[in-house]
């Protein structure tokens, strides 16, 4: 048995016949994937739009009542409503869909960048996603009702929640994205080592030669 025989046998291996609708099926799946991404992207903006009138009303009331802390908190919430969808949109725009038509090493580098960006977003989510909202609501209540027991308890709970979420997210980022990044790094190292490997076989044999 020679390598050439193996090659011939390999190419004769029976394959499942392709159905006539395979292209249509792939198209349907691709469209479903694109719709899913569209709705996921739109969800943040839709939520911000729903909340926007409430925050504007809070801001208007605070301005009328000359409550500085409430005004500042409403402005913080308003900024947060724009910041979250914008930062998610920007993250996606900075990292467009990885092109699997790229050479492997370049593809892996792009994949690594995307993983790193996702890991960072997740690790810091408590501070850019939850903390501004919690702080804004606490500030509104403090401004409107003063340092009541309920408001202080809410503030303490939010602080604990932020710390807890940050820890959980860091753990999640480490177990999912950081592990994938380590795996990508290992594959890249394998490729780089291949490129650097010395040619100690002194071979000029062609591709289809026997081993």
């Amino acid at each position: 048995m020679t390598w050439k025989d193996l090659q011939e046998q390999w190419k004769r291996t029976a394959v499942t016949p392709l159905s006539a609708s395979t292209a249509q099926d792939a198209l349907r799946r691709a469209q479903r994937l694109q719709r899913l991404i569209f709705w996921r992207d739109g969800a943040e903006s839709a939520a911000a739009l729903v909340l926007l009138p409430f925050v504007i009303i809070w801001l208007r009331d605070a301005v009328r009542a000359h409550l500085i802390l409430s005004q500042a908190s409403a402005v913080l919430l308003l900024g947060w409503l724009f910041y979250v969808p914008w930062s998610l949109w920007r993250a996606r725009r900075l990292l467009p869909r990885n092109d699997p038509g790229l050479p492997l090493l370049r593809y892996l580098e792009m994949e690594r960048q995307a993983m790193l960006a996702q890991a960072r977003l997740l690790e810091r989510a408590a501070w850019w996603y939850i903390a501004p909202c919690a702080l804004g609501i606490t500030g509104l209540n403090l401004g409107n009702y003063g340092p009541t027991r309920g408001v202080l308890i809410y503030l303490a709970m939010m602080l604990v929640l932020c710390v807890l979420i940050e820890r959980l997210n860091k753990q999640k980022a480490k177990s999912i994205f950081r592990r994938r990044i380590a795996d990508i790094d290992a594959t890249c190292r394998e490729l780089t080592a291949l490129e650097a490997a010395p040619d100690d076989t002194h071979t000029t044999r062609e591709n289809r030669d026997e081993p």
Binding site: M1, T2, W3, D5, L6, Q7, Q9, W10, K11, T13, A14, V15, T16, L18, A20, T22, A23, Q24, D25, A26, L27, R29, A30, L33, R97, D99, P100, G101, L102, P103, L104, L105, R106, Y107, L108, E111, I176, R179, R180, D183, I184, T187, E190, L191, L194, E195, A197, P198, D199, T201, T203, R205, N207, R208, E210, P211
Partner: protein, 156 residues
């Protein structure tokens, strides 16, 4: 069927054998069809970005291989394992094919890709193009892999 769909269907028809054999080597017997579908979707999504600089068949294999390597990584990390790949019933009809599959399963993603492309009769230039390596690096590694296989399975 619109022209682009017909073109895509033809592309799948022309490459079905290679894509299925690749999917079977990078996924478990239970989910190679999922991987094959994922490859089809990625090909459809990327077809517009094909700039004609490489041969279409080389580009198709590149998309498929990149998708397969990512798929394998995700599955392996999800299962939390460094466990060797499950060979299962991969459609083998010959003993020598089983031996070859066993050898392929024992290799890492890159070596496996190198050997698979050689089995598919791709030239060193095409293999180098898919992996983004030099022809020399491909030649050296290929020789070593074949020697390794030969020592393990072909020699008495």
């Amino acid at each position: 069927m619109p022209t682009s769909d017909a073109r895509f269907q033809r592309l799948l028809d022309d490459n079905q054998g290679r894509l299925e054999r690749l999917a079977r080597q990078y996924a478990d017997p239970a989910d190679w069809q999922d991987l094959l579908q994922e490859i089809h979707v990625q090909l459809w999504l990327s077809l517009d970005s094909f700039d004609g600089r490489a041969q279409l068949s080389t580009w198709v294999y590149r998309v498929a291989l990149n998708t397969a390597i990512s798929h394998r990584r995700k599955r392996r990390l999800l299962s939390g394992g460094e466990a060797p790949d499950d060979l299962g019933d991969s459609g083998a009809t010959h003993d020598s094919m089983d031996v070859l599959r066993e050898f392929l399963a024992s290799l890492g993603s890159i070596d496996r890709a190198l050997l698979l492309m050689d089995l598919e009769d791709m030239t060193r230039e095409q293999i180098a193009e898919v992996l983004g390596l030099s022809n020399g690096a491909v030649a050296v590694r290929m020789t070593r892999l074949k020697q390794q296989f030969s020592q393990r399975y072909l020699e008495p």
